[in-house]
Symmetry: C2
């Protein structure tokens, strides 16, 4: 996936959440994919559904991303970024120093705090792009977590989108000072928030950011990085089955 | 103000917004004071009211903080932090590297985005602690900015406090990972947000954060730094005139 992998480097395996049509929608997996691309590391992604996570990389993992780098297995997007930064110090930095690493935790919290609004906008859309084998687990776990049916929880997606746009106000303000959260160049903090935005982009045709929003410009800049692999990633709007697949089987 | 100034270093002058009873309430000036203390630099603060800003440090400045370090004059809290980082590189870093400096811009934007809620909670309280000579300017400029009288703008302070607390959700989440935005230690990003919280603390008896809120714990940790100068700073609750001074003259 990275545009300029070094043939001398071993290929890292990334276990990546996938739906129908190979739609890769996990915000956390996107963070890891951006981080690998930033480091210019050769990477092979292995698609898995929700119900397949338990058996990836030898088993024992509750969530993805999980990477396998030679014999080392690392789970959790932030831990993966920290691992890559330590294991590949000669590659471009993901954090720009200790202060940047710590602040990326704040950006991570900022991004996660916005997920509730995106969930209210696209949770049904996620369900509909899942392999039928994963839908029961997804519906049950999310309905338990949110205390409502998926349909009730997403009953007012327009309001949820408005709240998400409002939550992005700090990003909008910051972009008056600099083009990336990392300053003149992207860092892991940018990938954290870009992962959040890849999530609705992949599963839903809904417009999450207004086209004239500076945050949309920033997101476009991040998608264009590293050969544009994120820009080119399949979305429900670019795949036939995603659009026609509501309730269908693979 | 810093606890351990180096006698060999020149004293830096900081022009600091002040109200009655020497109440120092400007969030931006607090950022600069924390930054100077973090660097362990000897600092003399010079109080000024809003209407006195135009004449500080030779004139031509629209806002404070303004510092004078020997012959150099620097305005704007972020510019001051960048200046101190460059001018005193052997002192503790304010940013922890380029990534931290860039991310501090995001934290600055995050803090500023929350100011609207604090304004709706304490703008009248600010007015009431100002020197009478500054009150006309303050009322007129703020009422023009917000399109409402101070009293109408602050008509529902409880709701504003709730919105502010909600806006602090990312900080609360981050504190599960680390004690400061700077990680294990405070950096300028912490001082940016602490400056925001010093503002209502100094001018208002209103409880902005619930005592059990982890964000309140963090704010207490920041106030305790550098000899506790922020903890010890006069507030409207610790000064008689502040409490009795509504409408009074000095």
């Amino acid at each position: 996936m990275p545009p300029t992998p070094d043939p001398a480097m071993p290929t890292i395996r990334l276990h990546d959440l996938a739906g129908l049509d190979d739609l890769r929608f996990s915000p956390y997996c996107w963070r890891a994919k951006f981080a690998l691309a930033h480091k210019g590391l050769s990477c092979e992604t292995v698609p898995t559904g929700f119900t397949g996570i338990a058996t990836v990389a030898g088993g024992g993992h509750a969530t993805v991303p999980v990477i396998e780098d030679g014999g080392r297995v690392v789970r959790d997007s932030f831990a993966i970024a920290e691992y890559l930064e330590a294991a590949y110090p000669d590659r471009p930095s993901l954090f720009g120093g200790d202060g940047g690493r710590a602040a990326a935790r704040f950006v991570e919290a900022f991004a996660v705090a916005s997920h509730i609004h995106l969930s209210r906008a696209v949770l049904v859309d996620i369900h509909d792009v899942l392999d039928p084998a994963d839908r029961g687990y997804f519906r049950e776990s999310r309905e338990k977590r949110f205390g409502a049916t998926l349909e009730a929880f997403t009953a007012d997606p327009d309001a949820a989108v408005e709240r998400f746009r409002d939550a992005m106000t700090p990003v909008r303000l910051m972009l008056k000072s600099q083009p990336f959260i990392g300053g003149d160049r992207p860092l892991f903090a940018d990938y954290v928030l870009a992962g959040t935005l890849m999530w609705p982009r992949v599963v839903s045709a809904r417009e999450i950011l207004a086209p004239e929003d500076p945050v949309a410009d920033w997101f476009g800049r991040v998608r264009a990085l590293h050969g544009g692999f994120a820009e080119a990633a399949p979305t429900v709007s670019t795949t036939r089955r995603g659009i026609a697949g509501r309730g269908g089987t693979d």
